[in-house]
């Protein structure tokens, strides 16, 4: 589903006198359907950058980000913006650590939005959003409020619900359990297991060793991709 080959990324900081900041080079790994690959390595090794390159959020200087999209292989490193958007609409979902929501939208709609955008009726989408929020222990009395006023952990759970609600074949998980308590971490582990059974390919960053053991089918150590000279 994901086939990254020899991808390279360097930041050029023009405001700091054009200093070059190599991030990663020679990034090569693949992810099969139904498998969760966890990226490991110390902070600053480029794990998050690799996730962002796979999502098309960071550009690659060279190499290939191969993604199976609607039955064909597409290289996100060279794709047009419209193609990247299409891939994000129907193939790759991203669960980030932080929720970036529009100020006034109620929680239930924040979560249901990806399904509505995919063509599902509002009622059905809200029903699915409700059951997912319920599983993640967000009480129904909060569903009509915008998540901006929620605690960090609640916001992250809303974000997880939004990320897990659709049936996309690829999910990118950027520390999905970072600020959750044990009960909610267990729910996320369960959700990931369900996605695996549905054949979803996942790439994740998780700092918690216990969670990593529970979800990882394979571990890719990114230290070998470190580009620092």
């Amino acid at each position: 589903m994901i086939d990254v080959a020899d991808a390279q990324k360097t930041f050029t900081m023009h405001l700091q006198g054009g200093i070059e900041l190599p991030v990663v080079r020679g990034v090569t790994f693949h992810v099969d359907p139904g498998e969760c690959v966890v990226l490991s390595g110390p902070s600053g090794a480029g794990k998050s950058s690799i996730l962002k390159m796979i999502f098309g959020n960071y550009r690659c200087d060279s190499g290939r980000i191969g993604i199976r999209h609607r039955g064909a292989l597409i290289d996100l490193a060279t794709a047009e913006p419209r193609q990247v958007l299409n891939v994000r609409r129907s193939t790759i979902g991203y669960v980030s650590q932080f929720l970036r929501a529009v100020p006034r939208v109620p929680t239930i709609d924040v979560v249901a939005e990806p399904l509505i955008a995919g063509g599902m009726s509002r009622t059905d989408a809200q029903a699915r959003a409700g059951s997912l929020l319920h599983r993640l222990n967000i009480p129904a009395r909060l569903w009509q409020l915008p998540p901006a006023t929620f605690s960090g952990g609640e916001q992250q759970r809303v974000n997880i619900a939004r990320g897990f609600i659709s049936d996309l074949p690829i999910l990118i998980l950027d520390e999905p359990t970072a600020s959750l308590d044990a009960a909610n971490r267990a729910v996320v582990v369960e959700l990931i297991a369900e996605k695996k059974r549905q054949g979803v390919a996942m790439v994740a960053i998780v700092h918690d060793d216990e969670i990593r053991h529970l979800i990882a089918d394979r571990i890719v150590d990114v230290t070998s991709f470190a580009a620092a000279a």
Binding site: M13, H14, L15, N57, P81, V84, L85, N86, S90, P103
Partner: protein, 269 residues
């Protein structure tokens, strides 16, 4: 079934709605806009960002045919599927396009509204311009649109000069969208508004754009507005497009020195 629909959707979107080729405008020896080329597809929101004097407003005027280009051209795929060069349209054709298939949201609502006539008439006028003549239907549609932009229908007979700034801007949007245009130009639509009023307007614009599958070209100096509303962004400086791409890509991974400066100048919330 779902897949088929999506594919049809893609086929339709595979034809650009508007294409700009090597567009330039100079005033004497001063080049306000140099060699701008891009294609805009149905349902796509393109933000043009840059400081004052970067040429972004000139570009908007060129694209909407309000200003004659010194070089290059703009073509538009009309509702009948035929692509026309805007420069070859007659004045009447161009005005008809503006009243039907295009919208233009000005920063100052007073420029896009008739301030002394009722809100209902402001919205209804565009319908009459495309041949609607049944008073009851026009009024019903106008009330519908006031509701959609969150204006109390009880205010339908009041003139916009009695409205607040935020209400005026929402009324201008209703007036533009009532004829179901496919392309809307916006010039700093949240520019003169308080922050809280801005957030509400942005939220409204975002949902209307998605619901109506509108193509939008929006000029803004506010990168937060670009991030919230647009799919793609073009960064302008000195009349040139210096960087372009997916909005989150350009804002999170800016390449050009000027774009890095713009992005790093945003105050953290």
């Amino acid at each position: 079934m779902g897949d088929q629909m999506a594919d049809l959707d893609m086929l339709e979107s595979d034809q650009p709605l508007l294409v700009a080729k090597s567009l330039s405008k100079s005033y004497g020896r001063i080049a306000a806009c140099r060699d701008v080329s891009f294609a805009l597809y149905p349902g796509e929101v393109l933000a043009i960002v840059g400081e004052s004097g970067s040429g972004k407003s000139t570009l908007l005027q060129l694209l909407s045919g309000q200003l004659a280009a010194s070089g290059g051209h703009v073509s538009y795929r009309m509702r009948d599927g035929v692509t026309r060069d805007l420069a070859t349209l007659g004045e009447a054709e161009r005005r008809f396009l503006f009243r039907t298939d295009w919208g233009f949201v000005h920063q100052d609502p007073a420029q896009g509204l008739r301030m002394a006539v009722s809100a209902g008439a402001n919205v209804g006028e565009r319908l009459m311009a495309v041949g609607w003549n049944h008073y009851g239907r026009i009024r019903d549609t106008a009330s519908d649109w006031l509701t959609r932009v969150e204006i109390d229908v009880a205010r339908i007979d009041d003139a916009p000069r009695t409205y607040s700034g935020g209400m005026r801007q929402r009324l201008q949007i209703a007036r533009n969208l009532v004829t179901e245009p496919r392309l809307v130009f916006m010039d700093e639509p949240t520019g003169g508004l308080d922050v809280s009023v801005q957030a509400r307007l942005l939220d409204l614009l975002r949902s209307l754009v998605a619901e109506l599958h509108l193509a939008v070209i929006i000029v803004t100096h506010d990168l937060a507005v670009a991030r919230l509303l647009s799919h793609r962004v073009m960064v302008m400086k000195g009349g040139r497009v210096i960087e372009t791409g997916l909005t989150d890509q350009v804002l999170d991974d800016p390449r050009e020195p000027y774009t890095q400066l713009l992005v790093s100048s945003i105050l953290p919330p």
